[in-house]
Assembly symmetry: C2
Homo-oligomer: 197 residues x 2
């Protein structure tokens, strides 16, 4: 027992969880998404910047607007998913720092006055939060189907006309359906990934 996390939780979040490509038609409620957010919002980000923003695509019109920017191979499964979430980074996250980092509000101007610096930081920290969100979907007993196959410029313009957001991933969410996944692909061995100095 090297890990403190119980085996059922290990299975739920990592060992048995899989990226789903098909879903049942059981809906995913706003209450479920709120419960996911209220758990994963505690995951750490640099300067507590929390750049992740989430667009839930619930309307037929919203789904159509999304599908046209997806890679061909991602359309059918996304059309059929109970819920689709667009995960994006807010490149103007620094506006929230005075309220979110009350012990060091000057971080806003000291570190994040340049847009290019904000974008790089928001990509890294938004991706951390995207991973927390995927874990959270699994914590809710649901399967996530994260995708990066889309036209980023088209999707950014379609859903974030302010020019201040960049899509990080699109995630299908629901209960896994028939033949929901491929066989598990291999993973790199410890010695291929970890070295010691």
């Amino acid at each position: 027992m090297t890990l403190a996390l119980d085996a059922a939780a290990q299975d739920l979040l990592f060992r048995e969880a899989r990226t789903a490509n098909t879903f049942t038609d059981e809906p995913v409620s706003d209450e479920q998404v709120q419960a996911i957010y209220d758990l994963v919002k505690y995951g750490p980000t640099a300067f507590n910047q929390q750049p992740l923003r989430i667009v839930l695509v619930r309307s037929e019109e919203g789904r159509e607007r999304l599908l046209q920017h997806l890679a061909e191979g991602n359309r059918a499964k996304t059309a059929a998913a109970p819920l689709v979430a667009i995960l994006a980074q807010d490149n103007e996250f620094h506006e929230e720092l005075p309220s979110q980092l009350p012990h060091f509000p000057q971080a806003k101007d000291m570190f994040f006055s340049e847009r290019s610096v904000r974008e790089s930081s928001a990509t890294l920290n938004g991706a951390l939060q995207a991973a927390y969100f995927i874990i959270g979907v699994r914590a809710a007993g649901l399967a996530a189907g994260p995708m990066t196959g889309y036209d980023p410029a088209g999707l950014n313009k379609e859903f974030f006309a302010d020019g201040e957001h960049s899509v990080l991933a699109v995630v299908n969410i629901g209960k896994p359906g028939d033949d929901a996944w491929f066989d598990r692909s291999p993973r790199l061995a410890y010695d291929q990934v970890v070295t010691t100095v």
Copy 2:
């Protein structure tokens, strides 16, 4: 009970877990790191690319080489941490795709022939894996202290002379010590983060 994950696991991974700035002197073993890796390696990445590489800094000499590239404010706590892990993306991850994505080995050449494309993809997916790793450290009953305050060019050159890796974060790891953290900072409200279309 909107979440399937049990409350103790929620607390361990998110609700009570905190970024630690001080640690006890209890060592972190290679067996613990292996158990963490063997759990979080299952977290999803695009094309199963798994770009994360981890350097465990265990020697005195390695610690000195690391400290000189850290921001001043990160040095003392990193000098005192039981274990420090440098998390980096391998920009040549595509070399592993034929073995890691056996059902679609041509992805290596179809999508990742350009270095700039590989770098962007490795940043996003490496950051996802960095988040899984932080969750894994917590799953082992340890605290993580992730940092991005360092000279990236200096650190890349110091530890990755091949020019094919880019540091994503440096993470102190151990049991939390005295006064290990600040008061919890606020989190953005659901309505500030999530919108519906």
